[in-house]
Amino acid sequence: MTTKNRPQRGQQFGSLKIAVATGSLAAALLGTQLLARQDVAATAVAPQDTMVLNVPANMPTTLQTSPAVASATGLSQRQVTLNLQPIPQAAVPQIRSAPAVVRVAPLTQTRSSR
């Protein structure tokens, strides 16, 4: 008896598994579609468009969109903050200032070879 029931129970569970898997797949696909539509609506930028952000080397490391820019780009009521890492620069002659209260005598001097 036991041996006869086993195939039937297995068939039942197999059908149930297929139904659950199919349902999950359908839900996932539907969810992805919905999210994609939401993204397009929220950014108002067509997926194929390329956004180029030109960042001058000497700008502050935090950039905030102005209300005018936000309005023009459809970002009203939202503010975007980009945290930019400093751009590495080639070595240039630049030094921090010494404290003004300190006067330092030069240790040595550069001059033509002797």
Partner: protein, 315 residues
């Protein structure tokens, strides 16, 4: 306003025909052992790279023109650096100037010339244009081929290379500064200061006691080339040690000295030398177009010119 001085172990010795001064921010014992190592470094590099020592590796290479000669790592690296700068300056810096230097009367170290009041031989033109490019290097065998008759001098660039090596070595122990015969190379800044406070001297014809300008130097080099000190006469005509490769003669320059700041000693040295050769207007235009350099130039009549970038370093 209080005047502050930086106190740390220091040492002075002579090498490569000039006075070497070292400063190291460390305890006395570390200073002594590190300075010993640096003095040994200068002595060893001079033994290999001096054109005035007949037994130096450089003299042996010069004596074997027309043959492939395997060379040490040091000679290879310095020669390679010299050729890179010869290429970068379109031949205005040229290490193949030894025949022209000797023809101009620079036949012995300047100390020996001064002691003997040597006046040099008659000036003969040794055109150098592009001669550096005829040197061949075999990287696999680390060997050098000088065409017959060609001889090289690595004077200034060898000194700058060694000073940079010294700073690299001393930097393991602390903030440091090297003055190699007037060419300065600095490591990290001493504690509490934005850099090492150093001066840029007036040319020797003018007020040597006072600096024309004081600047902070940190992780960089400041080199001065000049015709204000190493000069002599050849048959009544003024001569000096800076050869213009375009003429093969001592450069006819309207500058007395050129001081250049750069991130590395080799570039500071080369740019200072080529500025002298180019003369006031051409070098000032060039240096202003290079934001990674800073410079102070003195014209023959003692007027000072500086690039805008030098202000970022001055105090």
């Amino acid at each position: 306003m209080d005047t502050t001085t930086i106190t740390c172990p220091t040492r002075t010795f002579r090498a490569m025909g000039c006075q070497i001064d070292l400063w190291l921010e460390a305890d006395e014992a570390t200073g002594v052992s590190t300075f010993d190592a640096v003095a040994q470094l200068f002595a060893e590099n001079e033994r290999l790279l001096s054109r005035f020592l007949p037994g130096s590796e450089l003299s042996q290479l010069n004596g074997r023109a027309g043959q492939w000669v395997p060379v040490s790592d040091l000679l290879w690296n310095v020669l390679e650096e010299a050729l890179i700068w010869a290429s970068a300056t379109a031949g205005l810096f040229d290490p193949t100037c030894l025949n022209a230097l000797e023809a101009a009367g620079y036949t012995a170290s300047f100390e020996a010339l001064a002691a003997a009041q040597h006046n040099g031989r008659s000036q003969t033109q040794h055109l150098l244009v592009g001669q550096w490019s005829s040197i061949r290097l075999d990287t696999d065998r680390q060997a050098v081929y000088l065409p017959p008759g060609l001889r090289i001098d690595l004077g200034g660039i060898a000194k700058g290379y060694t000073a940079q090596q010294a700073v690299d070595l001393m930097s393991y122990q602390g903030a440091c500064l090297v003055n190699a015969g007037g060419d300065l190379v600095a490591g990290a800044a001493p504690a509490g200061f934005p850099g090492w406070p150093v001066g840029i001297a007036h040319p020797s014809e003018f007020d040597q006691a006072n600096n024309s300008l004081s600047v902070w130097l940190v992780d960089a080099a400041l080199a001065t080339s000049g015709v204000d000190y190493r000069h002599w006469t050849v048959n009544g005509r003024a001569a000096h040690h800076l050869i213009d490769p375009r003429t093969g003669l001592p450069a006819a320059t309207d500058l007395l000295t050129a001081t250049v700041w750069a991130a590395q000693a080799a570039e500071a040295e080369v740019r200072a030398t080529t500025s002298l050769i180019m003369g006031l207007q051409e070098s000032l235009d060039f240096l202003e177009s290079q934001p990674h350099l800073a410079a102070v130039l003195f014209s023959a009549d003692g007027d000072m010119y500086q690039t805008s970038t030098i202000r970022n370093l001055a105090f």
